[in-house]
């Protein structure tokens, strides 16, 4: 059947069989930032936003996403203009093979949207179903805490006119889309 999706701001009609999962469909349409590590919702690599909620795309039937707005990691920032969470992962050496990172970044953005000042424990709880095999969790956790600080800093900088901004202030709810190219 045909289903309608808005993927990273772009409305599209895709064909999906009843057995197709959302990750497969997204990947077939070139969204390779959606990774498949486990075949069934246990590693977190396929995390995307579906209507603003974090979902493991490999564990969700594509037809259930009919009419939804999907955001993949590619919507968060570009290589030249990273989301603060992405930037923090880079700056904290939290990325090795990178296969789990899109899912981790999505989960971290979702956490910081709802809880801008998480404790280390809260960060670990948020990442609990994201499997990282190269770096473990020490540096990713540090990266998320660092991103939180940067994003809080960016907010307070914005409040004083943005004179001393050191990070791109594109890290909040309103910029969870493609950063200018989408309708949101």
């Amino acid at each position: 059947m045909d289903i309608e999706l808005t993927i990273n701001g772009e409305r599209t009609t895709v064909e999906a069989g009843s057995a197709d999962d959302l990750a497969t469909v997204l990947r077939q349409h070139g969204h390779i930032g959606v990774k498949c590590g486990c075949d069934g919702g246990t590693c977190g690599a396929s995390k995307v936003f579906v209507d603003g909620d974090v979902r493991m795309a490999c564990g969700m039937a594509a037809v259930d996403a009919d009419g939804s707005e999907i955001q993949t990691v590619a919507a968060l920032g570009t290589q030249d203009d990273l989301h603060p969470v992405q930037q923090a992962f880079v700056d904290n050496f939290a990325v090795q093979c990178g296969f789990c990172i899109p899912g981790m970044v999505i989960q971290a953005v979702a956490l910081l949207d709802s809880n801008p000042d998480p404790t280390e424990r809260e960060v670990r709880e948020a990442l609990d179903d994201n499997v990282c095999r190269c770096t473990g969790y020490q540096k990713p956790v540090e990266a998320v805490l660092d991103a939180a600080e940067r994003m809080r800093g960016a907010q307070s900088v914005a409040a004083d006119g943005g004179h001393s901004a050191t990070v791109p202030p594109n890290g909040n709810e309103s910029t969870r889309c493609c950063g200018g190219g989408c309708d949101e």
Partner: protein, 816 residues
């Protein structure tokens, strides 16, 4: 066969080695190393090396743009997908394969069985090692004689994944079942089922005895261990057991094969060993090496699991049969039962210690369960002794022996640490217990015996292998211990208020190697572009470790340019020079040194052009900040001008090229000291690990940020080995694990904080002083945690994983 890879041989000569070290020196392995002048600068004198340079592919990785093997799918509209039929009995012969239903299905392109023309019949090993291969050729691509639940029998290509899976399920296999054996000790019994007939295996390994299911027996001795054991009053013996650990690489084994417009067979594949894979495929398919191209894209984790040609022959066979590109991506379930795992082992440790606490002899024996096939069997078992034992190279008498046996269980292979974790658990747990029994401080006990700068590592020598008799030229063990003690709070540990809770600290040392002494090769070349930028082509393999970034830093340091002015292309056998691959902690040391040599070669040409353009002698010139400059005159010329002049200038125009190859007899050990802080509940055995600290001497860290990431990731994997059950099997050897949850990977909330400490020394044989970092912290948590539990409540867990139940059982036994 020759067996000089990561390889001990059966007999270890000792006399000549002992003579060689009487004066503390030997010609072959002098303490003073003839080190190039530019190799040893202080970190702050360097522009690129020793800096926390951003990982060059990170921006692509965090935005989801980087391409792994499966991401090439969209480039091949004609792509077919593979699925594999695997044995569901532990041992037997296939008597019939009914493929009729599968072949009749819409969308099925090919169904292959062992009889099919496109399926090679040759024997091979999946182990991706040097040549001659130190693993037995005992496998077929598809099998009629199946030896474990998971052995591949048939393969399917179809237009999509679902059809491929459905077709594979529609294939009916009939068997004649044989008896099976899954226990490695029972495999030795005279009446045990036999997996291989004598003479059936090609490229047999020293000490094989297939009548007893023994794939190899190895060993070596230094001095006279039996005499020393007879002579001392304190003789201790302990036995240890390790888990069948999964690599659990998040990217599954994935491989895409097709034949290109030049009639050449291309594999885009998630591998650690592109050149070995090319050679192995050429052998299997009887295709000239030159006609195979292996391209390694981004790799989503390897950890040794991809130091093997695990899946590649399947898509290549199917591609040859269908004339279409074929992608094979293992399922997560297959990852656990049909890919590779760490060899589970039982390791015995025995020591003789004097009344004064001097260790007179160490005797280690390992029984390694290699599963149905022998890939990496001997070499991994060799490292059980040859990696940890040299920590105590001052001990005069040492022996190591290992039996490697076949059972009807899933295949094992290389895994980060490569035998050292099993050996380190036994040795470091054992010595800790000995110290406590003798009333000695376990740390001070180790300090009396551990290796130091200047020592000749005779224990590595006793295990054989050219050049294994290493001189230790860098060793930061004392500093590792001191800084680790401080970080864990060793001297001011506070006990909990509750009487039933007890806190303890355990520590363990570790040593590894850096590359395989006498058996490695890395090569690189650098081309200068006319705009002053460079292309670096290097055979070295980045599997996510950041190796490409380290290569860029090394090249930039030599060339005096920014890393951004170098494009790196690694691991494409059509484009990049030869390399043995990413294993044995060799990449930065071996391939990195090749990069350094290539950069120096290019730099010599650049300085010649600088000399011509500046009118000053080469000796007066240096590179830096994107220029060639003269300190004497302060004149300079940019690399861009040199690139332009070389390409478009006078009649002696040239393309500035640099090349470098590196092989060495050296394999300097990195060192680590691990600390674990634990509280144990005496009433239940439950325990909480508060913190892990690991201090690592990796020589100079080319990129300290990346080195920390390696250390923490390795330590996380080591922690898993200490507390997770690994891949458990049922009585028939069937893996009881199908996903990460069942496997029991410790998630973020169940992983203690890990503090990594870089203890930098300078290793004169390495590029800018570097040795390895990726494996040594994989070895240390199991013994440190066992030691910590012992420290806290006085009981000892020797069988991994360490669980509350096992601690409780020991406590109950002590206090019935």
């Amino acid at each position: 066969m020759s067996s000089d890879d990561e390889t001990p041989t059966a007999d270890g000569g000792t006399a000549s080695q002992s003579e060689a070290v009487e004066d503390g020196q030997s010609e072959e392995h002098p303490l003073e190393w003839d080190e190039p002048e530019n190799n040893d600068k202080a970190p702050d004198e360097r522009a690129s090396v020793s800096h926390r340079t951003e990982k060059y592919d990170d921006r692509k990785l965090v935005t989801g743009q980087a391409k792994y093997t499966a991401d090439y799918e969209e480039q091949y509209p004609d792509l077919a997908y593979a699925a594999v039929v695997r044995s569901d009995i532990p041992h037997g012969r296939v008597t019939d394969i009914d493929t009729s239903e599968a072949e009749a299905m819409d969308g099925v392109d090919a169904v292959l069985t062992p009889e099919s023309d496109a399926v090679p019949d040759a024997k091979y090993t999946s182990a991706g090692q040097s040549y001659p291969e130190p693993s037995p050729w005992d496998m077929h691509v598809l099998n009629e004689h199946v030896r474990y639940i998971g052995d591949p029998i048939a393969a399917v290509a179809a237009e999509n994944r679902a059809t491929a899976s459905a077709a594979a399920e529609a294939i009916e296999v009939s068997y004649e079942e044989d008896d099976y054996v899954t226990d490695p000790e029972e495999a030795f019994d005279d009446d045990a089922p036999q997996l291989f007939e004598d003479g059936e295996v090609e490229n047999e390994i020293v000490g094989h005895d297939y009548d007893r299911n023994r794939m190899a027996h190895i060993g070596g001795e230094l001095g006279d261990v039996d005499a020393a054991l007879d002579g001392e009053t304190h003789v201790h013996e302990t036995e240890w057991e390790t888990i069948r650990q999964s690599h659990a690489n998040v990217e599954k084994h994935t491989s895409l094969a097709y034949t290109n417009e030049d009639d050449r067979h291309v594999l885009i594949t998630s591998t650690q060993v592109p050149n070995h894979t090319r050679r192995q495929l050429a052998h299997l398919f009887d295709i000239p090496i030159r006609d195979i191209r292996v391209q390694k894209p981004r790799v989503g984790g390897g950890f040794g699991g991809k130091q093997a040609m695990v899946v590649e022959p399947i898509p290549l066979s199917l591609s040859l049969a269908t004339d279409r590109p074929v992608l094979y991506e293992a399922s997560r379930e297959e990852e656990f039962y049909a890919m590779r795992s760490r060899h589970p082992m039982k390791v015995k440790a025995k020591t003789a210690v004097t009344d004064d606490g001097d260790i007179e002899a160490i005797d280690i024996y390992a029984l390694s369960n290699t599963g149905a096939y022998g890939s990496h069997g001997m070499t991994v078992a060799g490292n059980v002794g040859s990696k940890p034992l040299p920590l105590y190279s001052k001990v005069p008498n040492a022996r190591f022996e290992a039996d490697i046996v076949h059972t009807n269980t899933p295949q094992t292979g290389a895994m980060r640490g490569y035998g050292a974790p099993q050996g380190t658990l036994a040795l470091e747990g054992h010595l800790d217990e000995v110290a406590r029994d003798l009333g000695l401080d376990p740390i001070e006990f180790r300090r009396r015996h551990h290796m130091e700068v200047g020592d000749l590592d005779e224990i590595a020598g006793m295990m054989g292998g050219e050049g294994a008799n290493r001189r230790i030229r860098s060793c930061g063990l004392d500093e590792c211990i001191e800084r680790g003690k401080d970080a864990i709070g060793y001297d001011d540990l506070e006990q909990p208020d509750e009487d039933h809770l007890h806190r303890g600290i355990g520590m363990a040392l570790s040593a590894q190697g850096t590359g395989v002494a006498g058996d490695e090769l890395g090569a690189a070349q650098i081309m200068m572009n006319e705009d002053g930028s460079f292309h670096l082509q290097v055979g070295g393999v980045d599997i996510g470790t950041g190796a490409d970034t380290a290569f860029l830093q090394i090249a930039a340091e030599v060339l005096g340019c920014d890393e951004d002015d170098i494009i790196v292309k690694s691991s494409d056998t059509d484009v990049t020079p030869f390399d043995y691959g990413a294993y044995a902690s060799s990449t930065t040391y071996i391939s990195g040194m090749a990069v350094k040599k290539a950069a120096e070669d290019a730099k010599a040409r650049i300085l010649d052009w600088g000399s011509k353009l500046l009118g000053e002698p080469v000796e007066a010139l240096e590179t830096g900040d994107g220029t060639v400059y003269s300190e004497a005159s302060s004149d300079s010329v940019t690399l861009e001008d040199i690139g332009y002049e070389a390409a478009y200038g006078d009649d002696e125009r040239e393309h500035i090229l640099g090349k470098g190859s590196h092989c060495t007899e050296e394999s300097p050990p990195p060192f680590a000291a691990q600390f674990a802080d634990v509280t144990v509940d005496e009433t239940t055995g439950e325990f909480e690990v508060h913190k892990l600290v690991v201090a690592v001497d990796c020589g100079v860290a080319i990129n300290p940020g990346m080195a920390e990431g390696q250390i923490e990731g390795a330590n996380h994997m080591s922690y898993e080995m200490a507390v997770s059950e690994g891949i458990t099997l049922d009585d028939e050897g069937r893996a009881e694990v199908a996903d990460f949850d069942e496997y029991g990977l410790p998630p973020a909330t169940e992983t203690p904080p890990i503090e990594s400490i870089l203890v930098e020394t300078h290793e004169p044989t390495g590029p800018f002083g570097a040795k390895s970092v990726a494996e040594v912290p994989t070895n240390t948590v199991p013994p440190a945690l066992s030691n910590a539990v012992r420290d806290a409540v006085g009981v000892r867990v020797r069988e991994m994983p360490i669980t509350a139940e096992k601690i409780k059982a020991q406590l109950d036994e002590r206090n019935p």
